[in-house]
Amino acid sequence: MSAIASPVPRGFATPTDDHPVVRIALILVSVGFITIFLVLPLITVFAQALAHGFAEACDAVLQPDALSAVRLTLIVAAIAVPLNVAFGIAAAWAISKFDFAGKSFLTSLIDIPFSVSPVISGLIYVLVFGLQGWFGSALRDMNIKIIFALPGIVLATTFVTFPFVARELIPLMTDQGRDEEEAAVSLGASGWRTFLRVTLPNIKWGLLYAVLLCNARAMGEFGAVSVVSGHIRGLTNTMPLHVEVLYNDYQYVGAFAIASLLAMLALVTLVLKSLLEWRYADEIAAVHRH
């Protein structure tokens, strides 16, 4: 019996498959990389926080300074994220639905916070609004405090997290075109109703994703906030800044306990995102497939 050679080379399921060795190597490299750079540090954060037991970690989080840092972080995110949702939708709407001169310039402007070091963006605000800055004396006369106070922290956070919403929505809205909006208008809908009933539902998944990312970054921002906050304990320290202060004081349990809170925020973000994607898979598919 002469064996007939199989037309399919062994180990290949489809013609585009790579050699099994290549495949295994690639998988090992990515898993290894993720373990070393992402998973291990994350575990370390929690391990360090719980090094002296759960009670001590809880105690560290419940310190007045720590609680005030948590509160400040939540307040900043609660202001910065909605601001950026509004700005982001406006910018994405303008760029994807209208034609105007300087459109591509505006698109690249939106990327500036991603390409500029956060420390520099913090410094810009100090230079503009600080005591020695352009508006410094005017603001002092009006008794408005921006730098080393909540407004400065909000400004810096808003600046750093600006691109998240716009970046996510621009390709999505460009891809969806203006047809459905035109249909809505021809059916008698006002601009606002068109936005609420046609545009917003079409972008809601992208928007939600962007809000989650924007929020995670807003709560975790260090560089820009560090410059404008002044590190006043219990007053202008956000969670990341408080982590640094505690760490520099050799209060490792406290530092890692707060860090764990921040890390948990990231995990919750991730879980929420996956949960939403799983729960609404059909609807998401319906919006993207047409």
Binding site: E180, S186, G188
Partner: protein, 259 residues
């Protein structure tokens, strides 16, 4: 009460899309705008629908200064080439949209809207599909949903952009007959854009042949065939009388034997 279009012109940047277009059609007419791509027919349709502004010119319809009415108040039912159905809404919600966005004083009751949706689903022969999403429908079905949605607002005028362009030949022929019957039943003044001569001549009361932003000739199909006004019209319609249409020459498959 007729549709009167007077010297409408429109430029996109430096490209003149419409070079002063004028025509008249009686109320209730079924008008085809026929021409090759780039002849300005879709631009004219969009101007009638209020989705584009004319640079100059005037349109009166039913005694109204049509162009001064904003698109959302024009009640011009527009059927888009790619249908532009709201993809996150069910078929029923799509059809009800134009009624639900009306101001409270003019909005029918919920029961009335539901009744109208059922009626329209029946009219476009899609009973029982109200709960589907557009992505779950075939091209021909989506087309009819788009039509039902446009009809729901009781349009003064119906505007169709290449209504059969994206459908296969068989569905196209069926829908064509059906659309003509629907028009005869409703009597709504209808303007539709097509590049298919056969479709225009078969379906419309009046055919406006467009070329390079102008109307070369407008008339009843028989008049156009018998007395084409320009060489362009004669040439453009000639293909149909020869039965060739604009179909590309058929490729002959060749059989190759492999040894």
């Amino acid at each position: 009460m007729a549709l009167v279009v007077q010297s409408v012109a429109k430029q996109f940047g430096r490209f003149p899309a419409l070079n002063g277009v004028s025509f008249e059609a009686p109320e209730g007419a079924f008008v085809a705008l026929l021409g090759p791509s780039g002849s300005g027919k879709t631009t004219l349709l969009r101007i009638l629908g209020g989705l584009e502004f004319a640079d100059v010119g005037q349109v009166t319809f039913g005694g109204l200064d049509w162009l001064s009415i904003p698109a959302r108040e024009r009640r011009a039912g527009f059927v888009f080439q790619q249908y532009a159905l709201f993809r996150h809404m069910t078929v029923a919600k799509n059809i009800a949209f134009g009624l639900e966005v009306r101001s409270r004083s003019q909005r029918p009751t919920r029961a009335e809207i539901a009744r109208r949706v059922e009626e329209l689903l029946h009219l476009v022969q899609l009973e029982g599909l109200g709960k589907r999403y557009p992505s779950q429908l075939s091209g021909g079905q989506r087309q009819r949903v788009a039509l039902a949605r446009a009809l729901a607002i009781e349009p003064r005028m119906l505007l169709l952009d290449e209504p059969f362009g994206a459908l296969d030949a068989k569905v196209r022929k069926e829908l064509r007959v059906w659309l003509r019957a629907l028009h005869d039943k409703t009597g709504i003044t209808t303007v539709f854009v097509t590049h298919d001569q056969e479709e225009a001549l078969q379906l419309a009361d009046f055919v406006a042949v467009m070329n390079a932003g102008r109307i070369e000739q407008i008339g009843a199909p028989a008049d156009l065939r018998e007395a084409p006004a320009t060489a362009f019209v004669a040439e453009f319609l000639e293909d149909v009388s020869n039965g060739r249409g604009f179909a590309p020459p058929r490729l002959q498959p060749r059989v190759v034997h492999l040894h």
